[in-house]
């Protein structure tokens, strides 16, 4: 059932620069703000990864120019082990929270959800504005951790206690840096919760006439599912973060058992459990993986149908599979804990549930293949990245079949196999979803087309590059190379790892350099790109029925929906697509 909303008339956009572009309540501006935040964050995160790659390929090499930038972390030009771990921690945290959670949902979701369901804005525009600004504060607090005494924390993005709960005795960054890390994440949780509420209310309550749930584009289903996951998982992380902060600063012992002796000093805590943190963290952490990837699945589905000029294959199965993946995501957190000391019996259950995620994942893959099968594929950049998403989702996802088995995980846990696996599937595949979304919606966001030729060069280098980076990481894991190692050179059995490390580092340098092409493309297109028509991709969904960029309240009149979201290639139709707002007669005429 759709819900009509009664708007008296289209309001004009606020006149002042501040209310229109800075403290904006317009979902489109907020979406673009989220997108810019992720854009900045991803380059910070990549810069950190380059520093790590330098150390891994050239262990303890002296880089005099870096000594000028990182005076303590790279004193004398040689990276300190604690600085390496600070890079690991900050890279992970920035990427997971401020890129993978920010752009797909806060960015594209905010921008496109109201447009796609025919709403004039999100349900709670002020709340929406607050979610973005709260998230931005979280980012600033996180980055501040680099600049406080002792620098950034070194506990990894998972922040396992006791290491994270002990303070500076556990390492230089574990003092103020660690406090800021926790506070940043707690702030981020608040922002994400506010956002999730808004997405749910908007999807359920703001759909235009005729936009029944099963006429929603799969992108909307993806954002909706993601919002449900965020609503249920972020409070748990928030709670865990508060408890950790109390353990550190108020003398509580939620995660600290009695009798700890660190650096010769007896720690005055008793009664807590380090494993409790892991349960809370991963109860959030596994759904978080899907929060990162599900919007990319939605964008991929939308884009494959658009450019294959075919209806999405198995629409209802796709909706069901998104929900199944989201639901199962809440029951598999224990597969991160097979070797944690948790009961080995629970591993049995977690393993079976984990492997069963293969079923909805296979449905999605089969349906993506089914969508392009028999199509008439147009290879736009958006389409290339969506096809790349499918390839990476398969290539990365299958690694989970190894790690989901506790017996194999006994060996592979906390090795580079894990690093390769999650980077391919939740990192790079999700980022391919963002690239696809950027090329697809850029005309609507900025009113201009991106440069296709430049985009294709960027795509080719990036696709080959990410495979060259992350597949060899799987091989390092098979050799037994532990992750989060400053260097593997202390171990004889890792002797043959150095060649792979060098290869990965070169591949990372080339791939990251190629991202400059994307930056150029964005800025060039924003000012010099070809002006975008209302519907440059000949697509069917509602955002393409309004000007590029859309006016302040999106639609001159409330759109009325008569068709499903992916009516491409209807035999006998006047053109090869029927828009959702086309009159009912368009379909009737086509079928007879």
């Amino acid at each position: 059932m759709s819900v009509a909303h009664h708007h008296p008339a289209v309001h004009e956009a606020p006149k002042s620069f501040i209310t229109r572009w800075i403290f904006s309540k317009d979902h489109k501006v907020i979406g673009i703000q989220y997108w810019w935040l992720a854009f900045v964050a991803v380059f910070v995160g990549m810069a950190l990864s380059l520093l790590m790659r330098l150390q891994l390929a050239f262990p303890s090499h002296q880089w005099p120019f870096l000594a000028n930038i990182f005076k303590t972390g790279m004193a004398g030009g040689v990276m300190a082990p604690e600085f390496y771990l600070a890079l690991v921690t900050m890279h992970g945290t920035i990427m997971v929270f401020f890129v993978l959670t920010t752009a797909p949902q806060g960015g594209f979701g905010n921008f496109a959800l109201p447009l796609q369901i025919g709403a004039r804005d999100m349900a709670f525009p002020t709340l929406n504005m607050l979610s973005f600004w709260v998230t931005l504060v979280g980012f600033v607090v996180l980055i501040a951790a680099f600049f406080v005494e002792g620098g950034a924390p070194l506990g990894g993005w998972t922040g396992y206690p006791p290491l994270s709960a002990l303070g500076t005795i556990a390492g230089p960054g574990q003092g103020m840096g660690m406090n800021l890390w926790i506070i940043s994440i707690a702030i981020f949780c608040v922002g994400s919760l506010l956002g999730a509420l808004n997405f749910l209310a908007t999807t359920l309550g703001m759909r235009t006439h005729g936009m029944s749930l099963l006429r929603m584009p799969l992108t909307c289903w993806a954002w909706f599912t993601t919002a449900v996951l965020a609503l249920l998982s972020f409070p748990v992380l928030f709670g865990a973060g508060v408890l950790l902060l109390l353990d550190r600063n108020a003398g509580t012992s939620f995660f600290l058992p009695g009798g700890l002796v660190v650096a010769g000093e007896l720690i005055d805590h008793r009664g807590g459990s380090p494993i409790l943190w892991q349960h809370l963290f991963w109860f959030f952490g596994h759904p978080e993986v899907y929060i990162a990837i599900i919007p990319g699945m939605g964008a991929t589905s939308q884009i494959l149908a658009t450019f294959a000029r075919k209806p999405i294959f198995g629409y209802r199965a796709m909706v069901g599979a998104i929900f199944a993946i989201g639901l199962l995501g809440f029951f598999v957190w224990g597969h991160h804990m097979f070797i944690s000391g948790m009961s080995p019996y629970s591993s049995v259950v977690f393993s079976l549930l984990t492997l069963s995620i293969g079923v909805p994942s296979a449905i999605k893959t089969v349906n993506w293949l089914g969508t392009i099968w028999g199509g008439k594929i147009r290879f736009t950049c958006a389409m290339l990245f969506a096809l790349g998403f499918v390839s990476l989702f398969v290539g990365g996802g299958l690694g989970g079949i190894f790690l989901g088995q506790p017996s194999i995980d006994l060996f592979l846990h906390d090795t580079y196999f894990v690093v390769g696996h999650f980077h391919l599937v939740m990192g790079v595949a999700a980022i391919f979803g963002m690239f696809a979304g950027t090329f697809y919606w850029f005309p609507k966001m900025f009113g201009r087309m991106m440069h296709e030729g430049l985009g294709k060069v960027h795509f080719v280098i990036t696709l080959l590059g990410v495979y060259a980076i992350f597949m060899p990481m799987h091989a390092l894991g098979v050799m037994g190379h532990p992750r989060r190692y400053y260097t593997g050179t202390n171990f004889e059995y890792l002797g043959s790892a150095s060649g792979l490390h060098t290869l990965i580092t070169w591949a990372a340098f080339i791939t990251i350099s190629a991202q400059v092409l994307f930056v150029i493309n964005v800025f060039w297109s924003m000012f010099r790109g070809k002006r975008a028509a209302e519907n440059p991709w000949e697509a069917t969904t509602l955002e393409w029925t309004t000007p590029s960029p859309p006016p302040h309240e999106n639609f001159p009149e409330d759109p009325v929906v008569h068709h499903g979201p992916y009516e491409y290639g209807v035999p006998g139709a006047a053109r090869d697509y029927i828009m959702q707002t086309d009159p009912p007669a368009a379909m009737a005429a086509a079928k007879h």
């Binding site: 082990p81 771990l85 070194l154 396992y160 290491l163 556990a170 390492g171 009798g259 002796v261 660190v262 007896l266 380090p274 294959a308 075919k310 294959f313 198995g314 629409y315 199965a317 070797i339 000391g341 393993s351 079976l352 984990t354 492997l355 069963s356 079923v359 089969v366 089914g370 392009i372 028999g374 199509g375 008439k376 594929i377 290879f379 290339l384 096809l387 499918v390 390839s391 398969v394 190894f402 989901g404 088995q405 506790p406 017996s407 194999i408 060996f411 846990h413 906390d414 294709k456 696709l463 060899p472 799987h474 091989a475 050799m479 532990p482 400053y486 059995y493 043959s496 491409y568 290639g569």
Partner: protein
């Protein structure tokens, strides 16, 4: 573009298959029955996921090549195919869940079956950034410990002096020596933060968690010296927390144990 994209997808698929087939990047030597079983499960999983990977990427490339937009081509107007959906879901479900069930066999041997008769207990206590190894001595019993008594040189695991069971305990640093062919029951502990005792040649690792004593069983079948790594981030020295697993003939093991006692007496 379709042609080149299909070629790229097939190329990375081939590259991946070659990478996993190369001997240089394969599993380390295996020195226990359980390790061989884990390797077999790994190999089976590699074959199954390899087939799925080649099939999916192969089809992706094929469809990209075949269905690129050409003059006169017409897109098929289909909304899906329920038999295909159901069949693929059922097949994948059966294959993956069966694989998981098969893999549980060796997990059960390692973690769910009790301690075999004649097992030798050894206690491992992790600390930043070393492994303390303790043998119970002739009485077969570990003395009680207390964190207040930790002393890096005189009493590294804090044995309580008035407990008679602790009098004959033998302590080694960073070397776990075991007799070949005898079941071992490790009892893993930690003084400070999480560590993970990782023995690549046995294919097992287990976190050491302060406040807990976690058992880990194995039986090494081949003598030699093998490296032990820490696999759980434990601080800035994590990467150099290296130990050795010495698998010795029973006689050599007794001699080694005697040396440790003699050293401690000095």
């Amino acid at each position: 573009m379709g042609f080149w994209l299909a070629l790229m997808i097939w190329a990375v698929t081939l590259g991946t298959v070659v990478l996993f087939a190369l001997d240089d990047f394969s599993l380390p030597a295996a020195i226990s029955q359980a390790a061989h079983e884990i390797d077999a499960q790994f190999a089976l999983t590699l074959v199954i996921t390899g087939v799925a990977f080649v099939l999916a990427e192969g089809l992706l490339g094929w469809f990209i090549l075949k269905y690129r937009d050409r003059p006169g081509s017409v897109a098929r107007y289909v909304h899906g195919n329920n038999p295909i959906e159901i069949a693929s879901a059922v097949v994948v479900g059966i294959v993956f869940v069966s694989l998981a069930v098969l893999g549980l066999g060796v997990w059960r041997e390692i973690h769910l079956s009790g301690t075999p008769a004649g097992s030798m207990p050894v206690e491992i206590t992790g600390e930043q950034f070393a492994w303390n190894v303790r043998y119970p001595g002739p009485d077969g019993k570990f003395g009680r410990t207390s964190p207040e008594l930790y002393d890096p040189t005189a009493n590294p695991v804090g044995i309580v002096p008035d407990d008679p069971a602790g009098k004959d305990d033998v302590i080694a640093l960073n070397t776990l020596a075991v007799p070949v062919g005898r079941p071992i029951e490790l009892r893993l502990r930690s003084k400070d933060v999480l560590h993970s005792f990782f023995m690549p040649v046995l294919r097992i690792k287990q976190d050491t968690v302060p406040g807990m004593e976690i058992p880990l069983r194995f039986l090494a079948e081949k003598t030699g010296a093998y490296e032990v790594a820490c696999a759980e981030l434990c601080g800035l020295g994590h990467y150099r927390m290296r130990g050795m697993l010495q698998v010795l003939d029973p006689g050599a093991f007794e001699a080694w144990l005697g040396e440790q006692v003699a050293q401690a007496a000095q």
